[in-house]
């Protein structure tokens, strides 16, 4: 399997060294282009007016907030089943960008809700499940940090990562299952209810933010790997001294 090829950290670093800056630069350029278009050139919506421009930040951050936890869950599963050495590092690395994008999604959604719904916040299914996702990220980051400090089993955050994934389909289906001020899904598999004038810049923004997300995960993985290698070397030196 392809994932076993990257079980060797040296091979992973060989790829990540050039892929990290490439993803970050491509992501920043695409995102800057999409946001500039969304802010100054995209048309205003017939009902929402200019507030529709928040779409180009809010939707990609919601997508990546959920994508971050999906990454944690898949990496945790790989860690538990195949004991892949980089899976633990990948799960830890995805937590920060996932939490940041979830927070951006909640804040920009709240800013969008005030002029559109007349309120900053409602305790409906979509908003509440997204807030729970943010708390799950905080819990995961705290748990992973505690495991590192105390030297406990890395299986504990991995199990937490898999169990927490139950929230992802709940977020996704919340606007279908419960009455909500939030609109139902506009983009589903192969279909879109969004006019192409809004859809194309949105897709480019999603691609750009996704590249940034991938670049940040690789940068975090490289940092965690470097810290582990430094600690191991210092320990070996201390033992041989």
């Amino acid at each position: 399997m392809i994932m076993h090829i990257f079980a060797n950290p040296k091979r992973f670093l060989g790829l990540a060294t050039w892929l990290t800056p490439l993803l970050l630069v491509v992501g920043l350029v695409l995102t800057a282009g999409a946001l500039t278009y969304g802010l100054f050139f995209a048309p205003a919506d017939r009902l929402m007016g200019d507030t529709v421009r928040i779409l180009y930040i809010h939707v990609p951050s919601a997508w990546l907030g959920m994508g971050g936890w999906t990454t944690i869950a898949i990496a945790s599963l790989v860690e538990l089943v195949w004991r892949h050495p980089l899976a633990t590092i990948a799960a830890r690395a995805a937590a920060l960008p996932g939490a940041v994008f979830t927070a951006i999604c909640l804040i920009t959604g709240s800013i969008w809700g005030r002029p559109t719904w007349g309120t900053w916040w409602v305790w409906d299914g979509r908003l509440t499940s997204m807030l729970i996702l943010l708390f799950l990220y905080f819990g995961y980051i705290a748990l992973a940090g505690a495991v590192n400090r105390e030297g406990a089993s890395s299986r504990i955050p991995a199990i937490f990562g898999i169990v927490g994934a139950i929230n992802i389909p709940i977020i996704n289906r919340s606007v279908v299952w419960w009455n909500s001020l939030h609109q139902p899904p506009s983009i589903t598999m192969g279909k879109s209810a969004i006019d192409p004038a809004f859809l194309w810049p949105l897709l480019i923004a999603m691609l750009g933010f996704s590249c940034i997300f991938g670049g940040v995960i690789l940068a975090r993985m490289r940092a965690i790997l470097a810290d582990i290698q430094t600690e191991a070397r210092l320990r070996r030196k201390a033992l041989s001294a």
């Binding site: 200019d50 930040i57 800013i111 490289r222 070397r233």
Partner: protein, 46 residues
């Protein structure tokens, strides 16, 4: 006219939050990666 001005305040606020949050995350991740790799090289050379 006043309504349009109000809408732009919300749009700008959302963009500021999104852009500053993303750039801060990218900058911090990049710098912490560089710092960790420099420390590893330093320990390797010792």
């Amino acid at each position: 006219m006043r309504e349009a001005l109000d809408q732009w305040h919300f749009v700008v606020a959302a963009y500021v939050v999104g852009i500053i949050g993303t750039l801060a995350m990218v900058g911090w991740s990049w710098l912490s990666m560089r710092r960790a790799e420099k420390r590893r090289e330093k320990v390797r050379r010792k």
